[in-house]
């Protein structure tokens, strides 16, 4: 199923949640909607599901206008962040629900439904849980059941809202790999929402980065990492270091900065802002540099160095411990970025600057 979304807008009262979304998704594609909370990604997903309605815009799936269809008629599988399993039904009944509520004429026979459920239980690797109630399951098991319930109706489009957000890291990794397999087997067009970059890049064919109700960038992990389309994306991807630089012939220049590893940009000369990730900076001893090593610590794999300038500005630098040079506190080093993004100053609105994602993943409730 191909999905074509055009100039979709949506406001809740005075707050604009979606400010014109254009997006097409190909048949069988696995796409991630990535963004911080409040970027409108869940609202977009709910509009596609028919659980919410846009103020304006178009939503066409396989040539059919879905804005004319209620959720019931869209044949979507929706997986909720907190599973939303029916607590008074067993696992088997939960999975069978979508088939058993069909109008009598379209409803498969009891034995057909039972066979389908048994098949799904095997696919979900939970046949032993068939007769349990949701309260008797762990989070990971519940999420499998939720997915099975969505898959039972053989959905045209599978939509997942932060599917692994409430699970711990190990189970999340497991389920991720497993979802990828399920997607390969069913081949259904799949769209999932996440705030976790790792999850988005590991799972999806394409990642759509959203911020403040707009699509900031669409691309693969490498594209988004190396060439963020906007300061927003750069910050969201963990570029927490922002240095004012001067552009000369497309190259960033500043005292104590050696940006020769960065490719030249087709931008006008003048002041600009350089966005760097702490793990994409190398250090070279240079007595003329204003950056002095103020602090360093190691977590075994990485050394985190803190470079300080006389005006108090600090730049964190993460180096692989085994390949890092010997660093001496109080010594001056030059910053040599390996990758980075440069944006002209006037393109950077401070007002819509998002908080960069913390390095440690926040634990969702």
């Amino acid at each position: 199923m191909t999905i074509a979304i055009s100039s979709l807008t949506k406001s809740f009262g005075p707050t604009a949640v979606l400010r014109g979304i254009d997006l097409s998704i190909n048949d069988g594609e696995l796409v991630a909607l990535l963004g911080p909370s409040g970027s409108g990604k869940t609202t977009l997903l709910k509009i596609i599901a028919g659980l919410d309605w846009p103020d304006a815009g178009g939503l066409v799936v396989n040539g059919q206008n879905w804005l004319d269809l209620p959720a019931q008629k869209r044949r979507i599988g929706f997986v909720f962040q907190h599973y939303a399993l029916f607590p008074h039904m067993t696992v088997r009944d939960n999975i069978a629900f979508g088939l058993s509520v069909r109008p009598r004429a379209e409803r498969p026979g009891k034995s057909v439904i039972a066979a389908k459920v048994t098949e799904l239980l095997a696919l979900l690797q939970i046949p032993h849980l068939a007769d349990r109630y949701p309260t008797q399951l762990s989070g990971g098991q519940r999420q499998r059941v939720a997915l099975g319930r969505a898959l039972a109706i053989e959905p045209a489009v599978l939509l997942l809202d932060e599917p692994f957000g409430a699970l711990d890291a190990a189970i999340r990794r497991d389920l991720r790999r497993w979802l990828r397999e399920v997607h390969q087997q069913t081949g259904s067009t799949t769209l999932f929402v996440t705030h976790d970059q790792e999850e988005a890049f590991e799972l999806a064919d394409r990642v759509v980065v959203m911020g403040e109700g707009r699509i900031e960038q669409i691309g693969s992990a490498d594209q988004i990492h190396d060439r963020p389309a906007s300061p927003f994306v750069a910050r969201f991807m963990g570029a927490v270091v922002e240095l004012p630089v001067t552009l000369r012939a497309g190259r960033a220049e500043a005292a104590g900065l050696d940006a020769r590893a960065l490719e030249r940009r087709a931008m006008a000369d003048g002041p600009a802002q350089l966005f760097l990730r702490p793990d994409a900076i190398a250090l070279e001893a240079d007595p003329a540099s204003p950056w002095v090593l103020a602090h360093k610590s190691s977590n075994g794999a990485m050394i985190r160095a803190s470079m300080r300038r006389a005006d108090g500005t600090e730049v964190p630098v993460d180096l692989l411990r085994h390949s890092a040079p010997d660093l001496t506190l109080g010594t001056a080093y030059r910053l040599r970025p390996l990758t980075g993004a440069v944006f002209a100053l006037d393109g950077i609105a401070q007002s819509d600057a998002p908080r960069p994602l913390p390095i440690l993943k926040e634990k969702r409730q």
């Binding site: 659980l51 959720a71 979507i76 929706f78 907190h82 939303a84 029916f86 629900f97 509520v101």
Partner: protein
């Protein structure tokens, strides 16, 4: 000789158990247990033969029948209407919703005798509603319908107020999930929403029924109190008291108590069955 270590007594995590339980038990004893015990002793005083003679007297049997029938009608009405009311108050937004919500408590707050008087005035042959019903051959006042009406009035908040919070707490994602799975709105109610409010609804109906069995003030004005026709059991007990026939009053009251107990047990079993999925 081996030294035996003194066993360690586990400390309670939450203090105040003895005090709080003691207070509760004392209160329960004074307010509920002693009066009920007195009632049972009073009824037992007369011996089984006389007890049976009192409660199986035609007038008493008729009173029990009328009370139970009217309470059943009132509860059936409240079961439907109370559920609808709770649904409207939780699921929709409309102007005046908070006022309606507050109005729901009036039967709790209004003295039941006042309720009985105003219902009688409304439904009597020359009242606002009665003047319109009477020509159609429907009389409410001085019939069992009047009794049921008074019972329904005083007991409807029990259904609404027990169902409402449970309905409010239902996860909206459940409705949404059912919708994406293709369930119609009616199916969503019957297969997703209703099973989850069923225990609360059963509890509400039980309390409403029990309340109806014991209702007195609102009924005596509207019922007409004709023996064998519109005389309820609570009134009969009251009449026996006025005749200084304490044993007769206690016997009738005991039967009412028995009905209420049976009902509570049945309802508890039903609720446990309806909530069977909650046990982890």
């Amino acid at each position: 000789m081996t030294a035996v270590a003194a066993p360690i007594r586990a400390k309670r995590v939450l203090p105040g158990f003895t005090l709080s339980l003691g207070t509760t038990l004392l209160y329960l004893t004074v307010i509920i247990l002693i009066p009920v015990l007195a009632l049972i002793l009073k009824g037992a005083e007369i011996g089984p033969a006389r007890f049976w003679a009192i409660v199986s007297a035609p007038r008493a049997v008729a009173a029990f029948q009328i009370t139970l029938t009217a309470a059943a009608i009132a509860t059936a009405f409240n079961a439907v209407y109370g559920l609808l009311m709770a649904w409207v108050l939780v699921r929709y937004d409309f102007p005046g919703k908070r006022l309606l919500d507050a109005l729901m408590d009036i039967p709790f707050a209004l003295p039941t005798a006042v309720a009985g008087l105003s219902l009688t005035a409304l439904f009597s042959a020359n009242g606002w509603i009665g003047a319109w019903l009477e020509p159609q051959g429907i009389s409410v006042v001085y019939t069992i319908w009047g009794i049921a009406l008074a019972m329904a009035f005083t007991s409807v908040p029990f259904v609404v107020r027990t169902v409402q919070p449970v309905l409010e707490d239902l996860d909206p994602a459940l409705d949404q999930a059912a919708r994406t799975l293709g369930a119609s709105e009616v199916t969503i109610f019957t297969r997703v929403v209703f099973p989850q409010i069923l225990p609360a609804w059963l509890a509400g109906c039980t309390i409403a029924f029990a309340r109806s069995l014991g209702e007195f003030g609102a009924i005596v004005f509207i019922a007409g109190n004709l023996p064998f026709k519109t005389e309820i059991a609570a009134l009969l007990a009251f009449i026996r008291l006025e005749e200084f026939d304490y044993n007769g009053a206690a016997a009738i009251a005991l039967v009412l108590l028995f009905f209420a107990l049976v009902l509570l047990v049945v309802s508890n079993r039903l609720q446990a069955w309806a909530a069977r999925h909650r046990g982890a």
